[in-house]
């Protein structure tokens, strides 16, 4: 287990920088991870996706698939990739402070 100092908070992360304890997360951490991942500013649309990922993970224990992300988050697939060019599900999970999604879809 590695710890990392993000936005003046010490958090537990995995080798790729995903938070391993979602309860250590806050919005400042989200913004800093976003900046480091190439997203200078989180817009309302980014937040919509990040919160959807996080809420779904906290409610069900697994992150949603890209398919349900596109169907249920209110942000269509094309826009998801515009918002998060390096992979919407992966990046939104990282920014939202939940473990990396393990699903293939």
């Amino acid at each position: 287990m590695t710890t990392l100092e993000i936005a003046e908070t010490t958090v537990d992360v995995d080798a790729e920088g995903f938070l391993t304890h979602p309860d250590q997360w806050n919005e400042q951490i989200a913004e800093e991870i976003a900046r480091e991942s190439g997203i200078p500013e989180l817009t309302d649309r980014h937040w919509l996706v990040v919160r959807f990922m996080r809420d779904r993970y906290l409610a069900t224990g697994t992150a949603p698939s890209i398919r349900s992300l596109g169907k249920e988050s209110g942000v269509p697939i094309k826009e998801l990739y515009e918002l998060f060019p390096k992979g919407p599900a992966k990046l939104a999970a990282k920014i939202g402070g939940i473990p990396k999604p393990r699903g293939c879809i």
Binding site: R67, S68, G70, I77, Y81, G87, K90, G103, C104, I105
Partner: protein
Amino acid sequence: MTQMLEAPHIAPQEPKTIAKVAIVISKGSLEGIYPGLIMANGARMEGIEADLFFTFFGLDAIRKDRFEKIKVATVGNPGLHMPTLLGAIPGASALVTGMMKRQMEKIDIPPIPEFVELVADSGAKLYACKATVDMFDLSMDDFVPQVEDIISVGEFYEKAAGGQIIFT
């Protein structure tokens, strides 16, 4: 006499990531089409650029008149562990296809038409193989709107340059 080979000295390297893949889908059965689509979608999910090249019966995955009717091959498919004669009974393929589709829906894998759209929306580029298009006397009108172009093998290699090619 056994001899110990000296372990080669390889300098430690930073793990490299794949930046781009070009995936060929050449088969027209359900089990022939899904792996390529799953790999293309998976690539895009990791931020990897992806091109899809449909050739031979793989073209069925992007043909308007066929992509909703893709079936599992129940004859000559040892993976199903089913006697060949049983697989040849009318309706066997439809039955097995139905079972497999239900299983896939359970783990959130979309049906082929929706999957083709998802993969295209995610930024993967879809191409049809020119030789096959000529052979079957097809045109762009036969394909779903997500198909970018009909291209030759040479053009495919140009597009694949600098990436990994995956044949399925």
